[in-house]
């Protein structure tokens, strides 16, 4: 297994810590003038999403984590697993509930997502930054109402609930920013 020295630490580097794959968020070099140097590192556990801080002695090495991001198309869910495919190779992967996690409410068949693989098995799924989904449920708004006001909740075909302007109706397609969960615009078909 490859290793990294603390000198190579930088944001985005994937390492193994306590047997879990982690990603380095921030690395600060700490050194008393006449003493031992340390690397104070902020790390995200990629399995749990938890962010922790950990100190290393400068010059020490840690095991790298075999983590890669791959673009995949979301195919379907069988209730237990979510199935994805690498478009170039037709290779298929099935992600469990843990890996899909919060992304589940944005998943739409055929959309291209980022699948993070650890040792070639699904670790997490990141939906596209923008998705277009149709509205399955929302209070009927008043005709002629323009935007403004606080809006109203709307349930989308994927199950997500977002706030939309009052004029948006059931059956309409809208564009949503998945990073903030906010309505962007109506989509004209």
């Amino acid at each position: 297994m490859a290793t990294y020295s603390t000198n190579e630490f930088k944001g985005g580097l994937k390492i193994m810590l306590d047997n879990d794959p982690c990603s380095i968020i921030e690395n600060e070099f700490v050194k008393p003038g006449k003493g031992q140097a340390f690397n104070r590192v902020k790390i995200r556990n990629l399995k749990t999403g938890r962010v922790i801080e950990r100190t290393f002695k400068s010059g020490d090495t840690v095991e790298s984590a075999d983590v890669v991001d791959v673009e995949m198309q979301y195919l379907y869910s069988d209730g237990e697993f979510w199935h994805f495919m690498v478009p170039d190779t037709y290779e298929q992967y099935q992600a469990d509930k843990n890996a899909v996690s919060d992304a589940v409410k944005w998943l739409k068949e055929q959309d291209i997502c980022i699948m993070t693989l650890w040792n070639d098995s699904p670790l997490s799924v990141t939906p596209p930054n923008f998705v277009e989904l149709s509205i399955t449920e929302t209070d009927p708004g008043l005709k002629g109402d323009t935007s403004g006001g606080g809006g109203k909740p709307a349930t989308l075909e994927s199950g997500a609930v977002v706030r939309v302007p009052l004029f948006v109706q059931i059956g309409e397609m809208i564009r949503v920013d998945t990073r903030t969960g906010e309505y962007v615009s109506r989509v004209k078909e």
């Binding site: 600060e28 700490v30 050194k31 003493g35 140097a37 340390f38 104070r40």
Partner: protein, 326 residues
């Protein structure tokens, strides 16, 4: 990404830096301290295992000689002191390999001075005078706190810095959410002190305070003399402003034999830990044998002082061309 040709520090910063250097020179001129220059490229360097150096090859046909970029001008300045220079100061570049970060640039500007006949207390007074005089009007109101390492350490950790009890140190580290400390520090008292001081003490120093911490534990004595009344304590101090380490001062060790013994043990430590080998600086040792006058000396990192003077968050912002675009 291609580094930019443009300086990182703005021109206003460079002007401030020039003023700072001029003010320092004036300070020492008023006190009759002689400005000196010593080589940055020397045939020997310090053996301190915690300092990584840059080595270079000097082609002096037909032979090649290894020369070292100085981690500080200390040894050469002490040779001048032994030769009877009297009190001296120097502003120069120093080089430390592998040190880069928010507070570190591998090439940095150091102010180092030695006062013949000064006790450590007198030198601490002078450090406070100099620093307060260099800071702008809003910073000159900093209060000055003198506190012993042992007292400061106990205040923030409840532990005794001079008495090493691994279980107690570990218990405290675990409680502070540093369970990794025991694996890193093991039975090494000095390493524990480095860890706990930098993680749990430095960041809790009072704000708006120039903090002079004296009486460092002997395990961290480096080039300082030991306190004649308590051999657990070294005649060493450090100066901090708002928790940022700015300088390190010693009542200088004059005993050539003890100095040589410390070099030997540092060299042994280097071999044990597969660190690059260095030879003892024989010219420095010869100067000590000839006799170093009783003196106290201190080195201040001027780029960090610039951070405070100009309110920057990172050392790179005080430099025209930090290592990233040097």
């Amino acid at each position: 990404m291609l580094a930019s040709w443009q300086p990182v520090a703005d021109i206003r910063q460079l002007r401030q830096r020039a003023q700072l250097l001029a003010a320092i020179r004036q300070f020492f001129a008023c006190r009759d301290v002689l400005e000196v220059e010593t080589p940055l490229l020397c045939r020997a360097t310090g053996t301190d295992p915690n300092l990584d150096f840059f080595a270079s090859q000097f082609h002096r046909t037909p032979a090649t000689q290894t020369l070292f970029l100085q981690t500080s001008p200390e040894f050469a300045m002490k040779r001048l002191l032994a030769a009877g220079s009297g009190s001296i100061f120097q502003i120069c570049k120093a080089f430390r390999n592998g040190e880069t970060g928010r507070f570190h640039n591998p090439e940095f500007t150091i102010l180092e001075w030695y006062r013949v006949g000064f006790t450590l207390q007198q030198l601490m007074d002078e450090v406070a005078d100099l620093l307060l005089g260099l800071l702008g009007p809003d910073l000159q109101r900093l209060s000055v706190l003198r506190i012993s390492y042992q007292q400061l350490f106990t205040q923030h950790t409840g532990l005794d810095a001079l008495v090493f009890e691994r279980w107690a140190y570990r218990q405290f580290a675990d409680g502070q959410d540093y369970p990794e400390a025991d694996g890193i520090c093991g039975d090494d008292h000095a390493l524990w002190l480095d860890f706990l001081f930098s993680h749990c003490v430095q960041n809790k120093m009072p704000e708006d305070t120039l903090c002079l911490v004296f009486g460092y534990p002997a395990v961290q004595s480096s080039l300082a003399r030991l306190n004649p009344e308590d051999a657990r304590v070294a005649e060493r101090f450090e100066v901090f402003i708002n928790g940022m380490e700015l300088g390190n001062g010693f009542f200088e060790l004059c005993d050539a034999d003890e100095q040589e013994a410390r070099f030997d043990s540092e060299i042994a430590h280097r071999r044990q830990h597969s660190l690059p080998d260095v030879a003892k600086d024989k010219l420095f040792l010869a100067a000590l044998k000839a006799g170093l006058p009783d003196c106290s000396g201190v080195a201040i990192g001027l780029d960090r002082l610039m951070m405070i003077v100009s309110g920057c968050d990172a050392i790179a912002e005080t430099l025209a061309f930090p290592i990233g675009n040097a």
